[in-house]
């Protein structure tokens, strides 16, 4: 599998610096889980962050800070160690299930949706897991803001090209697109919208309440 569409450098840098919101960070994470090339880049960037931090001036610390740390780790002993992430991916932990048994809401023909927005509070984004049935076409729409999409399964095509599993796609308000799921599989994506979608097809008024 060849991933052709990556987050640009600036986004990776801001990710490594911890300057992105959770929703956008999730898109990067899902891409990284599939893209070794970008994982290597982020590793190098994390090292850059470490070296930059080490070059800065130092500020005096009261010994009491260390004493408080020791008090807390002593109090830890009774507590069980924090469980690590484990083998399941971040999305499985968010959904409580894997991609094969997601409780899709079938609000539009061909399109299943799980709205994850409430898990990303205070960011003004909509976070949607979307499933486009194999061979199906989604309603045409434009974006008022930016839309970031990561392809998690299958592939879709629109005017700009074909996007496969792992691809990280950024669309802005210039783009009026009408995605079609290509190939044998349903196409599952995670999409983060910085502003509501605007449907541009014939069923606009009918469908807008579902997608907003």
């Amino acid at each position: 599998m060849m991933i052709r569409h990556h987050p640009d450098l600036h986004r990776l840098l801001e990710f490594s610096a911890g300057n992105l919101g959770d929703a956008e960070a999730l898109c990067i994470r899902l891409h990284l889980d599939l893209c070794g090339e970008c994982r290597n880049r982020v590793d190098a960037l994390d090292s850059l962050g470490a070296v930059v931090m080490e070059r800065q001036p130092e500020l005096g610390l009261s010994p009491s800070v260390f004493e408080r740390v020791l008090e807390r780790i002593d109090a830890d002993r009774a507590a069980p160690p924090a469980s690590a992430g484990g083998a399941t991916g971040v999305l499985t932990r968010i959904l409580g299930t894997d991609l094969s048994s997601v409780p899709w809401k079938q609000s539009l023909k061909n399109v299943g949706v799980v709205d994850l927005t409430s898990r990303f509070p205070a960011q003004g984004h909509r976070v949607l897991l979307l499933k486009l049935a194999a061979g199906g076409t989604a309603p045409a729409h434009t974006h008022r803001g930016e839309e970031i999409t990561v392809v998690l399964q299958g592939a879709f095509a629109d005017q700009q090209g074909v996007f496969h599993q792992g691809d990280f796609v950024v669309l802005d308000c210039q783009d009026n697109h009408r995605p079609v799921a290509v190939g044998q599989e349903d196409c599952i994506t995670l999409s983060v919208l910085s502003a509501p979608l605007r449907l541009t097809g014939r069923f606009t008024r009918l469908l807008n309440p579902f997608i907003r």
Partner: protein, 213 residues
Amino acid sequence: MMGQSQAASAHSKEHTVVPTDKPVRTDGPQDHWSQLLRAVGKHQDRAAFHALFVHFGPKIKYYALANGLTSHADELVQEVFVSIWRKGASYDWRKAAASTWIFTIVRNQRIDMLRKQQRTGAEVPVATDDLWQIPGTDEDDPTASLHRLMSERRVRASLSQLPEDQITVITKVYMEYKSHQQVAEELGIPLGTVKSRVRLALKKLRVILQDPP
């Protein structure tokens, strides 16, 4: 940097890390801080833990202030070291240098602290460590590990060779929680200039070998 290596050699006299069971390389991690961190993780070595605190603590405090955590700077340092202690057992010097591993913990604790301040209701947020991974935790890929260690060395060796204007931009992104746009506004230069400085810097540090398409 000089001060660091002096402190390092002074310290290793009083605190020698004994080579342990079936090491891949008998000498273990080569850099001092990784040796100390390994001792914390493997043996709950408090002297090593304190040495890490003395070295990294004041830098983390500066990081907190630069990031705008004015009244929470000591708290961030505290959270970071509690976290280093708790996660120490999972640190593997073959997968990441201590400084990189610690930086990612600092960053994640800063993100957590800001999120706590912004939180309104009883939402169940996504765990920060799930989104921003600590290097080496979820993977057993020797190639990735080797790549990580090599790029750490390369970045450390070549950062000081970058022109000051490139270092400034990179530093503001990492230390001051600023977007490229904010950096441009603050420096009074076009966004395109900020981006090209970043790009040049990352090329020279070989974070990127070529421009992504």
